[in-house]
């Protein structure tokens, strides 16, 4: 088999198991978007234009709370700031590529694709077509996300509101943190963020509670990191 196709296929198969939780997440996004009164086109448009599950749900939540677009855009930027880390880690593997490759691969550099391609890149540094792995993994995520959004949009018009599906927003984000439940410092950071947001929900103007809570918690995270480094 052609090496490019082989690497591409490896990317697709590596990321596939991680797609299992993405499907309900996408469906939840579609359902809630429609229940909040967004048009199906707009809900689907968000999945194509933004393509970042967590930030799309944040945007929906802020929209239903009546936040201004400036606050909404800033919050989305804050939620997605973790991608800076992914880009920085991948720069050494992708810096030799043509601009067109960088433009395309950046669009699909999401959590799941980063996770599997990072593992692959570390082990296959000498493969000159290793970026095809990220291409395969990324566009698999993209396809699954778009299809689940569409499923959710259709379900959203049939699912009764009494089921309280908006609670799944909290549950979904909680589920994304399960790997950090055993880390003491992460739990401190989580509690700071959650408490500042809950107390600040009414007190902080313009629905900026997510940004304020996140910055407070990141400050605590920075302090915890500095203390830890001093000990070493």
């Amino acid at each position: 088999m052609n090496k490019r196709l082989k690497t591409l296929t490896k990317g697709i198969t590596d990321v596939s198991p991680l797609m299992i939780p993405v499907v309900p997440f996408g469906i939840i996004f579609g359902v809630i978007g429609v229940e909040l009164g967004l048009s199906p086109y707009m809900t689907f448009g968000m999945s194509v234009i933004i393509f970042g599950g967590a930030s799309q749900i944040v945007l929906l939540q802020l929209f239903s709370g009546g936040a201004s677009s400036l606050v909404a855009i800033t919050s989305v930027g804050a939620v997605n700031s973790r991608h800076l880390l992914y880009g920085a880690v991948f720069s050494e593997y992708l810096s030799h590529l043509k601009l067109s490759w960088k433009v395309i691969l950046s669009y699909v550099l999401i959590d799941q694709a980063f996770a599997v391609s990072n593992t692959y890149f570390k082990k296959n540094k000498e493969n000159e077509f290793k970026h095809y792995h990220l291409l395969g993994a990324g566009f698999t995520c993209w396809t699954v996300w778009q299809i689940s959004t569409i499923l959710g949009i259709f379900l959203g018009s049939v699912v009764p509101e009494e089921l309280g599906l908006s609670f799944t927003i909290s549950l979904t984000f909680l589920a994304l943190l399960i790997n950090d439940f055993r880390k003491f410092k992460n739990i401190i950071v989580m509690l700071v963020s959650g408490m500042v947001a809950t107390i600040g929900y009414n007190a902080i103007p313009f629905q900026a509670y997510i940004i304020v809570a996140a910055l407070s918690a990141l400050l605590v995270a920075t302090l915890l990191t500095l203390i830890n480094l001093k000990k070493k």
């Binding site: 800076l84 960088k102 943190l177």
Partner: protein, 105 residues
């Protein structure tokens, strides 16, 4: 919601992914910066999780007969032991439905 908001959000999201790949020749973020960035989910997601659970529709704290708190505790326990995203979501949702449709009826 306006299309322009969605497009700006798309641009800013894209830039968080593209900027580092475009600007850096090699990985220059030091370990300290990486460690702090790795806390971003823990720092942001609870700000999304907590308010809808603890606040009622009027925006005041609601600790009494709040099915969301109990369902969340149950989801955390399941998540802690199973480490499964799907199990966590369904444990929370099913216990929530049990509480609102059976227990509190």
């Amino acid at each position: 919601m306006h299309w322009s908001t969605i497009i700006y959000c798309g641009i800013i999201t894209y830039l968080t992914r593209f900027s580092m790949i475009f600007l850096l020749k090699e990985d220059i973020l030091n370990d300290k910066a990486k460690k702090v960035l790795s806390y971003v989910p823990s720092a942001i997601f609870p700000a999304i999780i907590f308010p809808p659970i603890f606040l009622d529709s009027a925006g005041s704290l609601d600790f009494e007969s709040n099915p969301k708190i109990l369902a969340t505790v149950f989801a955390i326990i399941i998540g802690f032991f199973s480490r499964s995203i799907i199990a966590t979501i369904f444990a929370g949702l099913i216990s929530y439905w049990f509480l609102i449709f059976v227990y509190y009826q």
